[in-house]
């Protein structure tokens, strides 16, 4: 039982990372209708910024906040400089441009910080004995903290979307860009803010993941893939779906690795494919996604 709880919490903690990344993907998808292939790499970039800042003596929490600011600027810059000038009617070109950003940022990281992995201090107490006992199971504080961060981010996002004028504008733009423009919303600024927000969340996810996974140029490749699966599973335009999908994927991963010996971590993607097909064939727009009605 205690092993079960430990695996459950570990799965939820990993799931929180996927959920954060998936949230970032959803925010971008709602504003631009594209999967942001560069999302993970912007996160990695931010995590390296955190590492540089902490090495220069800043406290970890402040470094993460500053790096989130950097992520905000980089991601908003990608929207303004790379994505927006492309004619939006051509999704193929946008995908190629985002793959270009992915490649450029990925390689820029190894250009600036080299290819060796480096440690990153955790924002939570992360000593050998820093765990608490939950129902008789030892659970690391850092794991619980990650889940806590997800909850805080969720509450903040909920407040932003429902209680502020900017959030209202973001929802309007997600719903219908042309009409939003007509009622006087500055659509460009809102898109910029949405992408920036996603970038900041991505950096947060990377900074939470790096202490346990090790900071390297390939930090976010696997998590990005799983987060996109989570986002699709939950519905690409649904923040709730992203969180549910992320946690689901995290727990599934932990249980497969923990309990299904003959599959293990190597066979994660075949299992993900089965889950994805099982859900999407019943609900083609994901668990919480809204179905698009098309006129002919």
């Amino acid at each position: 039982m205690s092993l079960f709880i430990e695996r459950m919490v570990n799965g939820l903690a990993d799931g929180s990372i996927y959920a954060l990344l998936a949230l970032a993907l959803v925010v971008v998808f709602r504003s631009t209708g594209q999967l942001n292939f560069a999302q993970g790499e912007i996160g990695t970039f931010g995590a390296f910024v955190v590492s540089t800042l902490t090495l220069s003596g800043l406290p970890v929490w402040l470094s993460i906040l500053l790096a989130m600011g950097v992520g905000f600027v980089v991601s908003a810059g990608v929207e303004r400089v790379v994505v927006r000038p492309i004619e939006h009617r051509n999704p193929g070109a946008v995908i190629v441009a985002l793959i270009g950003v992915f490649l450029a940022v990925n390689q820029l990281v190894s250009m600036i910080w080299g290819i060796d992995a480096r440690p990153l201090p955790s924002i939570f107490p992360d000593e050998a004995d820093s765990f608490v006992t939950v129902f008789g199971a030892p659970v690391r504080i850092a794991r619980l903290g990650t889940i806590g961060v997800l909850i805080v981010v969720l509450v903040l996002l909920w407040l932003l979307f429902t209680k502020t004028k900017l959030g209202l504008a973001m929802r309007a733009v997600a719903n219908n860009q042309d009409s939003s423009n007509l009622v006087g919303i500055r659509v460009g600024t809102v898109l910029l803010f949405g992408w920036g927000l996603a970038g900041a969340i991505g950096v947060l996810a990377a900074a939470l993941l790096a202490p346990s996974a090790g900071l390297s140029g390939t930090l976010m490749l696997g998590p990005f893939l799983l987060a996109s699966v989570a986002a699709v599973l939950g519905g690409l335009d649904s923040p709730i779906g992203a969180v549910v999908g992320g946690l689901l994927i995290g727990v599934t991963e932990a249980f497969i690795v923990g309990y299904v010996d003959f599959l293990g971590a190597d066979m994660l993607f075949p299992v993900m494919l089965v889950i994805l097909l099982a859900v999407l064939l019943l609900r083609p727009s994901g668990l919480f996604g809204s179905e698009r009605v098309e006129r002919v």
């Binding site: 492309i86 193929g92 441009a97 270009g100 390689q107 190894s110 250009m111 083609p284």
Partner: protein
């Protein structure tokens, strides 16, 4: 619109244009095989193999509008099929040592990938756009994981893969065994590329091809007009996968080894094929070839910039010779992709066609004169106008079948 030159389709000028195009490419290939270095020829063969795979992807993503990030899986399945057959890992009747000759493995890969592709096509009936792309992407990684899985290592070689299969050019070519293997392989790849391109172009002009374009432009409308969505999607996914499988098969024969960690067999491969397709021009006959050439050679150039920045145009002013900047090659290529997407959004071929259409226009043959068919006289003029409207063919195709794409400019003639 006033255009300086206007030719009828099938006129001698039209054929002359095609001759110049094909002659130019033929001359390029001839010079390449006779004068290029071995490594350069190797890159060209890589480009042609990718071009074959992208031709397959073009059918389903370019013409049918189903965004697939799963073609690296077909590529890998084709490669592994070839590798297991060539090394005799599967019992085969009539063969004493179970070892297949390379030519037959290409066919076997095509059949296997066709069947797998048909199955992959079934989810495409329910899923659209990015949802389908993500499912096929996970399919790629799942296939890679299965090839790596220990339990199947008797057939797939598991994590170590299959290495060391050897073969020689067939004796009828008169080529000298091992020394001319590269030349033989170049001709083999070129021949398959030509055949696949012709078959693809023919398919697009057939009834199925029109059904594909109809599905891309508006699925519901196509279904209402009597297009069978199930048949069209599964069949085209199967054909598309089969072509990618043949390309993978060639790739395995070129490498003379397969393992699950070959970059082109995973996520990276799927992305490569999609980038090559978009860069060349989706839903264009020449798109896959141009895109693959761009991808391979520009990538190689970017890599050389990273290895020796002092020799490049811009950085030569700032960097001492002999320095290598880690990652600069990738950054260069990434920036090139961004610029390409910004300034050539319809792909190289689409943009070239747009420019060409400002100078030369190929209009369809006029219908049979009214005298020959007097009874159709009343209805003919309106039809004729519709057909001869030259502006309709000047717009390049908006790729990937969004509901809002009103693409008319599909590549109908080969030139």
């Amino acid at each position: 619109m006033n255009v300086p030159l206007r030719f009828t389709k099938g006129s001698w000028q039209n054929w002359a244009g095609r001759l110049v195009l094909f002659g130019g490419v033929g001359l390029f290939m001839y010079r390449a095989v006779n004068e290029w270095s071995r490594s350069g020829l190797g890159l060209l063969v890589d480009a042609m193999i990718i071009a074959i795979a992208v031709t397959g992807l073009n059918l389903i993503t370019g013409y049918t509008g189903q965004l697939s990030l799963g073609h690296a899986a077909f590529f890998a399945i084709g490669a592994f099929t070839s590798a297991t057959l060539v090394t005799g890992k599967i019992w085969t009747p009539f063969l004493d040592d179970n070892i297949w000759t390379p030519g037959w493995t290409l066919l076997a890969s095509a059949v296997v990938c066709f069947l797998v592709g048909m199955v992959v096509g079934i989810p495409a009936l329910r899923l659209k756009g990015i949802y389908l792309a993500l499912v096929t992407l996970v399919f790629t990684e799942a296939v890679r994981a299965i090839f790596k899985y220990d339990e199947f290592s008797g057939v797939t070689g598991g994590a170590t893969g299959i290495k060391g299969f050897n073969y020689l050019p067939p004796s009828w070519t008169g080529l000298d065994g091992r020394a001319d293997l590269v030349t033989w392989f170049f001709y083999l790849t070129l021949a398959i590329l030509v055949v696949v391109s012709i078959l693809s172009a023919g398919l697009i002009r057939s009834r199925i091809g029109r059904a594909m374009v109809a599905v891309r432009d508006n699925e519901t409308a196509a279904a209402v007009m009597g297009v069978n969505l199930f048949t069209t999607k599964t069949l085209v996914f199967g054909l598309s996968g089969a072509i990618a499988g043949v390309a993978g098969s060639l790739y395995a024969l070129k490498l003379t080894l397969v393992e699950a960690d070959v970059p082109l067999f995973g996520l990276f491969g799927s992305v490569t094929l999609l980038v090559a397709l978009v860069v060349g021009g989706a839903a264009q006959n020449w798109g896959p070839f141009v895109g693959a050439m761009f991808y391979v050679f520009v990538n190689d150039y970017a890599r050389s910039v990273g290895e020796d920045p002092s020799s490049s145009l811009l950085l030569g002013w700032f960097v001492d010779s002999g320095t290598t900047i880690n990652g600069l090659g990738g950054v260069t290529f990434g920036v090139m992709l961004i610029l390409f997407a910004r300034f050539v959004p319809f792909g190289a071929v689409g943009t070239m066609r747009m420019w060409r259409s400002k100078v030369v226009q190929v209009v369809p043959r006029p219908p049979i004169p009214a005298a020959a068919a007097p009874e159709a006289g009343a209805a003919a003029p309106t039809l004729e106008q519709g057909h001869n409207d030259p502006d309709a063919t000047t717009q390049p195709a908006a790729s990937f079948g969004n509901a809002d794409s009103s693409s008319l400019g599909d590549d109908e003639d080969a030139s």
